[in-house]
Symmetry: C2
Amino acid sequence: MNNTNHTTIFIKMVLDAWQTQNKRVDDLLQTLSDEQWMKETAPGRNTGIYLLGHLTAINDSLFEILEIGNRLHPELDVIFVEAPDKSGQQMPSVETLKKYWTEINSKLTDHFNNIQIDEWLAKHTRVSAEDFAKEPHRNKLNIIINRTAHQAYHLGQINYLKNK
Amino acid sequence: MNNTNHTTIFIKMVLDAWQTQNKRVDDLLQTLSDEQWMKETAPGRNTGIYLLGHLTAINDSLFEILEIGNRLHPELDVIFVEAPDKSGQQMPSVETLKKYWTEINSKLTDHFNNIQIDEWLAKHTRVSAEDFAKEPHRNKLNIIINRTAHQAYHLGQINYLKNK
């Protein structure tokens, strides 16, 4: 196997892992009721709807971080990233967030299938050129690795909505 | 940048992400009391000590899956992988599990620093030669990607022990 093939395989591994976590959210969107999403994942902890909005906003932010286009729903950040749960802000409904989640991931997937190897290894928008020169692992693909762990972290919590 | 450099950077990205999750468990081992570890992460859900034993057993299993040596604590599987929490089996103390966790990860880290690129891309013990020929992304490094998400998933739950 040559090194270009290695690189292609690495990218597939990282994208597959990200899609696996997306798929788990998709599955929960099918199985949990809107009423379950409104509940706290544990006493005094984040609600399901807040975590759904949070994961949706974080995926939406990838358009800008990876420089692949404009965000579809930048308005989510104020509610689901900058503010904590129960901040008193008006949230979109679970139904609306489901729609956003699906649209965002569908569009991201289309883009990801067309990003070339060199582009995945390029600097993203949240690292300075100076830092990137010293730390070339802080590239676009690394963002996907980190976001995969972030999604898994909150999925562990959202799963506590089952049988509630 | 040439392709060998690409591959080296990919491996660093994956190992860094795994170490980040390990470090988060390390930090919780410093901040949560033994009494907190004994509690349920949410009502009716897994206890902290069960999840700590579970993550320890899963990391310990990497010695065999990646073919880098014998496991240090294979006896953990019966309690923390094959059986659910509250199975009635005698668990090691939190103190003992902390010691195991640190020893296992220290030894794994030593090995990981010496694994060569081709070895990371080789077949692990839980995929057949036939399947691996068709799906070369199911290699040793991919195990680390999946285990990173697995650790993050349970860390989301263990974090609910804070302020309990």
